[in-house]
């Protein structure tokens, strides 16, 4: 009940301010585009670093977009209403995470292969890239949400969130970039994808509880 209502509300909100969906996507593309400029435009080199670069850019894009997950709710007082409602916070937190991923994470997943192509990633790897991003980005959103729940109401900006959350992103980065490199080199990928899926399951089940606890702590609980 509170789950469906929250998902619906988040989607509605996103329709009313589409910039919040599009901005992270632009940021993602922009960070990836820095690498041909900063490293080298050579195809052989780019194709080798492509998995890592795309994943690091995705990490940062998710991080900065998730920063706003509770900002407007906190400032309008809607978050307080959520906290006093006689409902377990787990479901609304899960709903917010999923809706946020749908709106900001999924677009990243979809342009991922395009960016892979631009960085000369072998075409054979692009379906793996898509799949890896599909399994990995919700994990990033979920873990990021924990960090945000702890910093809600602080005026510290994105850098504090980055310090809290980036170390927690390492496993996703390692397996996510690893599996794409495997695919690019023609190695089997199922094992690593399974690990990414396991991380996804674990984070989606545990993170909402942590987010709920974090929100209560930040409200002064």
């Amino acid at each position: 009940m509170s789950f469906v209502a929250t998902v619906k509300r988040e989607l509605l909100l996103a329709c009313r301010r589409p910039a919040e969906i599009i901005n992270p996507l632009f940021f993602f593309v922009m960070v990836v585009a820095m690498f041909p400029l900063g490293v080298s435009p050579k195809a052989e080199l780019l194709s080798v670093i492509a998995p890592g670069v795309i994943w690091v850019a995705a990490l940062l894009a998710v991080l900065l977009s998730v920063e706003g997950l509770f900002r407007a709710d906190h400032e309008s007082g809607a978050l307080e209403q959520l906290l006093v409602a006689p409902t377990n916070l787990y479901l609304p937190a899960l709903a917010k995470i999923l809706a946020h991923w749908l709106l900001t994470g999924l677009p990243l997943v979809l342009v991922g292969p395009l960016l892979g192509y631009m960085l000369h990633l072998p075409v054979s790897a692009s379906s793996t890239l898509l799949l890896a991003l599909l399994l990995g980005t919700p994990t990033l959103t979920a873990i990021g949400a924990i960090g945000v729940s702890l910093t809600v109401g602080l005026r510290s900006g994105g850098i504090l969130l980055a310090l809290l959350v980036l170390p927690l992103y390492v496993p996703v980065l390692v397996f996510g970039a690893g599996v794409v490199s495997y695919a690019a080199n023609g190695l089997p990928v199922m094992g690593l994808l399974a690990i990414l899926a396991a991380l996804l399951l674990a984070s989606l089940t545990l993170a909402p509880a942590a987010v709920a606890a974090g929100l209560r702590i930040s409200s002064g609980g």
Binding site: T6, R9, L12, L13, R16, G77, A78, V84, T87
Partner: protein
């Protein structure tokens, strides 16, 4: 109504930024009463209401809601809290905002009638961003007509309302108390001689 109090605090004490806001608050509130929490700016009115609502956990002493202790229920089931900030997302319409609240409270109700009663007929599907502060406040307060809860915790319910609005809300508070509810509100405005008060900000908390 039994004579078991609805709310009972024991030696409640709260400190913020190294300053004691209140201490030794032993307060007993029963069904059918209206309590005003009074005191100057920064005295701790909002903090006290947030403690009662379960939003602020850094206090000493304790409080209970004895009338429901037996049933072991989540006190939030019984509480309606309206904060300083209206709690409305500007991008959503009053109707959409209220529907989300109702879903959170697992209640079914039709907000249209209540909105009309508060003079918001015609504004139900306008984004809240284009409502005035008073109108936003009315949207939030329409919950008093919609949601069915025995205890109301209201932080500054009269701000931004005009005289009509104030009368309307006063009437509603009286009605709720008369039907056996408990109203606790913070404000500088004492609208009725029957309203009892907790005064913060002095040397000692004053109960009357």
């Amino acid at each position: 109504m039994t004579d078991i109090p609805v709310l009972q605090t024991r030696a409640l004490r709260c400190e913020r930024d190294d300053r004691e806001l209140f201490a030794g608050l032993n307060w007993c509130a029963s069904a059918g009463e209206i309590w005003q929490i009074a005191g100057p700016n920064g005295a701790g009115k909002t903090t006290l209401i947030r403690i009662l609502a379960g939003l602020h956990g850094f206090y000493d002493g304790s409080f209970t809601w004895p009338q429901w202790l037996q049933s072991d229920a989540d006190p939030r089931e019984k509480l309606l809290y309206l904060g300083h900030k209206a709690g409305l997302r500007d991008e959503l319409t009053p109707l959409e905002n209220l529907q989300w609240w109702l879903a959170l409270h697992a209640q079914q109700a039709d907000p249209m009638a209540a909105l009309a009663q508060l003079g918001l007929a015609g504004y139900e599907t306008v984004p809240c961003a284009s409502l005035s502060a008073g109108q936003k406040r009315r949207v939030a307060l329409s919950l008093l007509w919609i949601v069915d809860k025995p205890v109301w915790l209201l932080d500054e319910p009269f701000t931004a309302l005009d005289a009509d609005g104030v009368t309307l809300i006063e009437e509603r508070l009286r009605q709720h108390a008369a039907s056996g509810g408990l109203v606790i509100y913070s404000s500088h405005h004492r609208f009725d001689d029957a309203v009892r008060h907790v005064r913060l900000g002095g040397k000692q908390v004053e109960l009357a």
